[in-house]
């Protein structure tokens, strides 16, 4: 097996080669291809790249990317914001959760080039080691993690959960669809179900979110 150092080199040189070949051939028009379905396998272009501009944690960035690059890989591999984690890469675990235009999404199941003009917030944009976001501080206080791998996604989701409840977005456990949902433990658990924690820190995560929610609303949780 290749050492990781070599793999990295290999991939970088591949990306560079890909960018060169794509700019040489230009982006082909979809309508310019005319193979029939039988040789569908042959219709694939060589690596295609495209440009995209968005803001990440209030910083504008412009990237030239292979069209296949997920938002997750753009953040981690191109912008070196490695706080966002790759767990399953299939939208099943939530480790890659980031907030795009005010809504949390799985960054692994989204193409970076589809986010032209978007406002993206990652865990690095919520707080810093010197100045933790209240949710980060609450996760520390309540021991809301063990290994920590799912934590950035958990925290991005947790911040969004409080926002979603405040906006009145219902959930599967909301009793009456026409009444504003409560900031209850049941609501938090249901809304956090897209973030899996293999260490099983769930009860402490719920305590952390409950505390932040109570602090922000001034009410009892």
């Amino acid at each position: 097996m290749e050492p990781i150092r070599d793999l990295k080199l290999t991939r970088r040189s591949l990306l560079i080669a890909g960018a060169v070949s794509a700019s040489a051939m230009a982006v082909p028009q979809a309508g310019a291809q005319s193979a029939n379905a039988a040789d569908a396998a042959d219709t694939h272009p060589n690596t295609v790249s495209g440009g995209v501009s968005f803001t990440v944690n209030d910083k504008p960035v412009t990237l030239e990317l292979d069209t296949r690059t997920s938002l997750l890989d753009a953040l981690r591999e191109h912008l070196h914001l490695t706080g966002t984690k790759k767990g399953c890469d299939q939208g099943q675990c939530g480790a890659c959760t980031v907030i795009v235009d005010g809504r949390r999404i799985n960054s692994c199941l989204s193409l970076a080039i589809m986010h032209e003009g978007a406002k993206i917030t990652t865990i690095e944009g919520l707080g810093t080691p010197d100045q933790l976001h209240p949710m980060q501080a609450a996760f520390v206080k309540h021991d809301g993690f063990q290994c920590g791998y799912c934590t950035p996604g958990q925290i991005c989701s947790a911040v969004s959960v409080i926002d979603e409840i405040r906006q009145g977005i219902p959930s599967h456990v909301t009793g009456d669809l026409n009444v504003k949902p409560l900031l209850s433990v049941d609501e938090i658990r249901e809304r956090m179900s897209g973030n899996i924690c293999r260490c099983g820190a769930y009860s402490n995560i719920v305590e952390a979110i409950t505390e932040v929610a109570a602090g922000q609303t001034g009410g009892k949780a």
């Binding site: 979809a30 569908a40 949390r104 219902p170 599967h172």
Partner: protein, 317 residues
């Protein structure tokens, strides 16, 4: 993932025409299912057309008292819309029972209808699958079938449709509005939109090449008591073993559509005639002719009991 060209569509008719004349093109909106399948090279488009800029992102009242839901309306927004919560509660409930918030924030109305099955043999590219590779055989038949279909199956495929939203749409008699490659529009009743597998399980919908969904029309509200009960292996974020959408109408009649049991949202209008005789009579007609295995025979009584529970709940108010 195979390489692909990427274009942002600015005209609906052009998008449909381009997709029809370009082999191996897919529309992309939320992308939550398509990209997953592309990573596994189950879907291998050579060209993607991003339709997010086409503006079909509104929910509007129709002249006949219903709602027109834009194809690009996100699942979160559809479930949260005050009119949907009030008048089409079964649709809100079905949407909220599906996936996670992260996915619902991305997933669109049209994309949800077009979801592919989660049959593990469809996902395993090392195994024969008539849906993924027509004519290669069905690995599910004779395999592990706890999650598979029990009605409307064929010898070629026993996969289920995974959507919760589509079950509610079927219950409500929604209509799918599209633009075809020649620029003409048509309306497809939801009952005719999804297909049974037959000998061509790779053909899942009535859509023609290039045809683009622009909206889903909901008829005027039915009233009555709405319910969506989803039975799954964990309390949240899992596909249905069985799901039951019901509406019990003010006149005492009822409708039922079932998920997790067939290749399409399963509704048998004739079974609803038996409503006055109770849940068992309805469920027996609904599930008549079921072909089960040792793994999934539980689904037939589960439909009956879940329907009975939904009716009991509705009577309590």
């Amino acid at each position: 993932m195979k390489a692909f060209t990427y274009q942002r569509a600015t005209s609906t008719a052009e998008a449909a025409a381009t997709a029809a004349r370009t082999p191996n093109t897919r529309f992309i909106a939320g992308g939550t299912n398509l990209l997953d399948l592309m990573k596994l090279e189950i879907e291998t488009p050579a060209a993607l057309i991003d339709v997010n800029g086409l503006g079909f992102d509104k929910i509007e009242a129709t002249a006949d008292g219903g709602l027109r839901v834009g194809a690009l309306v996100r699942n979160t927004d559809l479930a949260s819309d005050a009119r949907v919560r009030q008048d089409y509660a079964v649709l809100s409930r079905a949407l909220l029972a599906g996936a996670s918030t992260q996915l619902r924030n991305k997933a669109t109305t049209a994309g949800n209808l077009l979801q592919r099955t989660r049959c593990p043999y469809f996902y395993d590219t090392n195994q024969p699958c008539n849906k993924r590779k027509p004519g290669s055989g069905c690995s599910a038949i004779g395999g592990y079938t706890r999650h598979h279909a029990v009605v409307g199956t064929s010898d070629a495929c026993i996969a289920t449709h995974p959507s919760d939203m589509a079950i509610a749409m079927r219950l409500l008699d929604a209509e799918v509005e599209t633009v075809r490659a020649d620029g003409s529009m048509r309306t497809i009743p939801i009952a005719d939109f999804h297909r049974l597998p037959g000998n061509t399980p790779q053909i899942e919908t009535a859509l023609e090449p290039g045809e683009l969904i622009i909206s889903v029309k909901l008829p005027k509200p039915l009233g009555g008591v709405h319910a969506y009960r989803k039975i799954r292996d964990r309390a949240s974020y899992a596909f249905a073993l069985v799901s039951v959408a019901t509406v019990i109408l003010p006149n005492g009649a009822g409708r039922v559509a079932v998920g997790g049991v067939a290749h399409k949202p399963w509704r048998v209008e004739a079974a609803e005639q038996a409503w006055p005789q109770g849940a068992r009579a309805v469920a027996e007609r609904l599930m008549a002719g079921a072909r089960t295995t040792d793994d999934n025979a539980f689904k037939v009584p589960l439909v009956h009991r879940t329907l009975a529970a939904a009716i009991a709940d509705a009577k309590k108010g």
